[in-house]
Symmetry: C2
Subunit: 603 residues, 2 copies
């Protein structure tokens, strides 16, 4: 099973075209400007001195690398002098300031030079991983490989230090990333030494040779050998990057142990430790996974990078086995807990993605809540450049192919052309997804099987063809047109009773979109609202929220006059109807600080 | 309006007789033993030296003083050599080690001697306040006044230092208590200088002469002059002790400004900042009141001493104006958020009284929850001796009299005899309260009016006589018997919609008792239970919980099989009935660590 990469297709219109255009036309410059003014780009000059502003940081390279990777994905699809010039300048500086031995890090090049590879958690190999991904993307997009060659020199140096000489102060990096990047490098170059390096880092982690103690063990996924990790533990971004690499290796090495662990980890996440938005890592302390079913809404950490990482892991799982639950999870993430990470204007970002906001609680002392408004840049600003690289390459998620079977995993208006085992094909999708469940798939090319994912939320779907693990199998030939219609009623979802916060409450979805209510539309006490979901309708009028489809629905609140000067009164039945408004969760917090709630009550 | 004190009556049977016997026979010794072994009593020897265990603490005197006060209340009702001997020994040491100038504090007598009256928050005057209360009680009970005389020497010294010389490093104490104690001393001695001292401390607090900054201002109720404080702020125990003194002064001085502030503060607490259990001070940070309606259940701080203090404040408010909401609040506190502070066996105590417990959440890192099991002693062990003095003198809450009107505020099996304005009376109460709403009041004596409180929870009550501010006015003469019957159905209470945690949930009460469910009776996922309250019945079989009446009721849980391997499923209707058990909230956590919940859902 092979992924059809975004290079083999174009997003031609609709929801994601609008997002990609926003990234290209607005976000890339906004992120660049913030990174420029905070010194992240200038750090590549390696001329910082004590007393100057913007002292480089150990992980700033990764921020810029992800931005370059995104730039490359955009360059792949067309000229862009602005992006190209910034990339070239930065690559010039990388090459100029790279050590003779290949080493580069804007922090360690000039600060704490003697601490290179001395502290496991200082992100050097994490940064290198992102350089690898950026350099591959840039080489593909521009057909120029000087950046990639320079990065490969660094990789070779890492191989020498970590694997041949074992002279570093630690065996495996504190923050995973290089493991999956090395697999990409193997895929691109065909050089097996990179696959071996990845395998070394994955297999050495959590072994007796690589001991850690207490808290840090789970935090860094170093508590057990990879093949024995069955529950998602520790820092959630690190975890899903690691699991992604494990899946990559399982596929390429046919490693049943890694595959088994990946399957169990995916199940643990999606059956015990994931918000309905696809967000993961509920615990603020250490940005970690918590215990099973511990998914509080108000204090959800749910980092954008972690949610995005779950999509990366899930996409790889689809390649291990075409079971629709993997692509279902991708869909859950990309339309909800990932997309909430960026503002509608494309200029501001959430690091944390809570499922409920109550600004007044901030007046309470001594407790920590996620911020309520997106920011343009963070001190630890990993999320913004991760978002731009992810959206720019989101075409990666649409298709996978095995022999002459093409798996249609995501529905996005697009045109693709790629080879099959026997022949080739062109596939065009026309759809108003995610707000319209009609999808027209036009097929040209050699006879093939189109395995069309029946979305997990579409419980009423009646298949006309055999269904295998959630995919409807269409036999197609040149000129065939498949008209899919996934009915999109409003559906109230219950949460597993073990999730404390959601008992007696429902999350409203329509298709893949999770809806929420905001105080700005619905007034005070939004937690007290009961909705009559039978009255819900998507608004034609798109003026509520800058063109984003919203929902009008009859809501009911308790009559506050019953509580005049009273905290507690005997149960009554007086409720007051009003026109409630729901908006897609991903679009919350775009109209100033206000209450927000996903899990509501029904009348 | 005058309070009829517990000395003028006897609790003769029923609920509170059992509690008073438990205190006398078990708890007093248990608290003494813990205080003895932790050095609190030996601290009175003032011979601690560096290297010895049990270094005295600045507030240990108050722990012992409250214990002596409780002992005096018990001695008031009968001989008890064990208690008397300990009191005498301790008083001997107090007198022996008291400074020539009257000063005594087991910490500052021998440690940090030069820091006396230098640090506002170091509890010296707080300890003195408790000595005053203890000494008055002991003098009343034993007719021996050497302790009181010694304490009064200390009081005179405080007057000299704080009021005459103003030589202390602060003007008013960090932790209020002496203010209300000085009023007691005035009441007992008739010496107006003590009333003036109390007034000085109350009126100086929060004035420009007594500036504090930022957080500490509200924490100590020093942010505004007393007459301008209308919202309950800061450390909740300090707050209600302060408000109690304000009410005391308002009554004795006819001070309208203080009365007005007290009324507003009472309203702010009971209409915005009080749990249904009568608990207050929801915020762990600084043991403080939070903002309006911020009453989370799981993280409720709700210190036993604060809840008890609300009863003290409310009792005083009844004397300002006989409005039944004050005695209603006393009732709410004493049967719920106060009484939960002590275990059924009388040996262990809660400092915090949460309204919900979820032991599994403790596995989550980085968050703070109240402890789940009562302890025998705490480092800061203010609550246990406060409980024993409170229960031993609970008769204080039953009656108040004004002219020939006797206000019957609480229903407890008891016999009282006291003077009226014109004549005298004996009143006997027979009742199975709080589990039985029948109360028989036998009146003997001169003609009078009995103002019988109609409990706030008893919404269906039909009065046969005029009702004034919640009291039914019975004209009585010698030999009259009043048969009251307060119907006690199970009632589901709603919380004000502004209280986030309780939206869609109900607290079940029967009479004054708030009920809760525990995991030990009701299994997993108790937050998911829906009760059919129509099926509720008080159990005849008292074996569930050591003789405490419990409730059997049909409960429903969602069918977990619908969630096999799933976190989120479309709304279904499959629920599974089971026999649920509710117990009085005050009796929770007596059978090992388990989940607990007050606010439940209804079918």
């Amino acid at each position: 099973m092979k992924q059809i990469s975004f290079e083999q297709l174009d997003i031609t219109g609709g929801f994601w075209k609008q997002k990609q255009d926003l990234i290209k036309n607005v976000t890339m410059k906004a992120v660049y400007d913030r990174f420029k003014e905070t010194g992240r780009f200038d750090g590549f000059k390696c001329d910082w001195q004590e007393g100057m502003p913007n002292k480089p940081h150990i992980f700033w390279d990764s921020d810029v690398a992800k931005w370059i990777e995104a730039a490359a994905y955009i360059l792949e699809k067309g000229h862009n002098d602005f992006l190209r010039n910034i990339c070239e300048e930065t690559i010039d500086l990388f090459i100029k300031n790279q050590d003779e031995n290949g080493y580069f890090n804007q922090y360690f090049n000039i600060i704490d030079c003697d601490k290179r590879f001395k502290v496991r958690d200082w992100h050097e190999l994490y940064c290198l991983g992102h350089f690898i991904e950026a350099a591959i993307a840039y080489a593909k997009a521009t057909n120029e490989d000087r950046f990639l060659k320079a990065v490969c020199r660094y990789v070779d140096y890492v191989k020498k230090v970590f694997i041949e000489e074992k002279s570093a102060a630690f065996l495996t990096p504190g923050h995973e990333e290089i493991e999956l990047a090395l697999v990409k490098l193997y895929d691109y170059t065909g050089d097996k030494k990179y696959l071996d390096m990845s395998r070394y880092f994955v297999e050495t982690r959590g072994t007796p040779e690589n001991p850690l103690h207490g808290w840090e063990q789970k935090y860094n996924q170093s508590h057990l050998p990879a093949r024995e990790q069955f529950t998602a533990e520790g820092h959630s971004v690190r975890a899903v990057y690691f699991y992604s690499a494990m899946a990559d290796l399982a596929i390429r090495l046919g490693d049943e142990g890694l595959r088994n662990a990946c399957e169990k980890l995916f199940e643990n996440i999606t059956e015990r430790r994931m918000y309905i938005t696809g967000a993961i890592g509920s615990m603020p302390r250490g940005e970690q996974f918590s215990i099973d079913y511990d998914l509080p809404n108000l204090t959800a950490y749910a980092e954008t990078c972690a949610n995005l990482g779950l999509a990366l892991f899930s996409r790889r799982m689809t390649l291990i086995e075409p079971d629709s639950r993997y692509a279902d999870t991708v869909e859950r993430v990309i339309y909800n807990g990932f997309l909430s990470g960026i503002s509608l204007d494309g200029k501001a970002f959430f690091y944390e993605n809570p499922l409920e906001i109550a600004p007044k609680l901030r007046l309470r002392e001594g407790e920590r809540y996620p911020i309520t408004q997106r920011l343009e840049v963070f001190g630890c600003s990993c999320c913004p450049p991760n978002i731009v690289r992810f959206i720019s390459s989101i075409g990666d998620f649409i298709y996978a192919a095995k022999g002459n079977i093409v798996y249609v995993n995501q529905y996005m208006e697009s045109k693709a052309a790629f080879a099959l085992e026997n022949g080739s094909c062109e596939i065009e999708q026309q759809t108003g997804y995610p707000f319209d469940g009609k999808v027209t798939i036009k097929y040209k090319g050699d006879p093939a099987t189109l395995a069309v994912r029946i979305p997990g939320w579409c419980t009423g779907y009646v298949a006309a063809n055999p269904v295998v693990k959630g995919y409807e199998m269409y036999e197609v030939k040149d000129g065939d047109v498949i008209e899919l219609e996934f009915d999109m009623p409003f559906v109230a979802f219950e949460a597993n009773p073990h999730i404390r916060d959601n008992a007696g409450r429902y999350a409203i979805m329509r298709g893949p979109i999770v809806f929420c209510m905001e105080g700005v539309d619905n007034g005070d006490c939004i937690k007290d609202i009961r909705l009559d979901l039978a009255t819900a309708c998507l608004t034609e009028d798109k003026s509520v929220l800058d063109g984003v489809p919203c929902v009008k629905v009859t809501g009911y609140k308790r009559d506050l006059s019953r509580f005049e000067r009273k905290l507690y009164v005997p149960k009554g039945s007086s409720i007051i109807p009003f026109e409630a408004t729901m908006i897609p969760y991903y679009a919350f917090a775009n109209r100033g600080e206000t209450d927000m709630l996903i899990w509501t009550m029904l009348k």
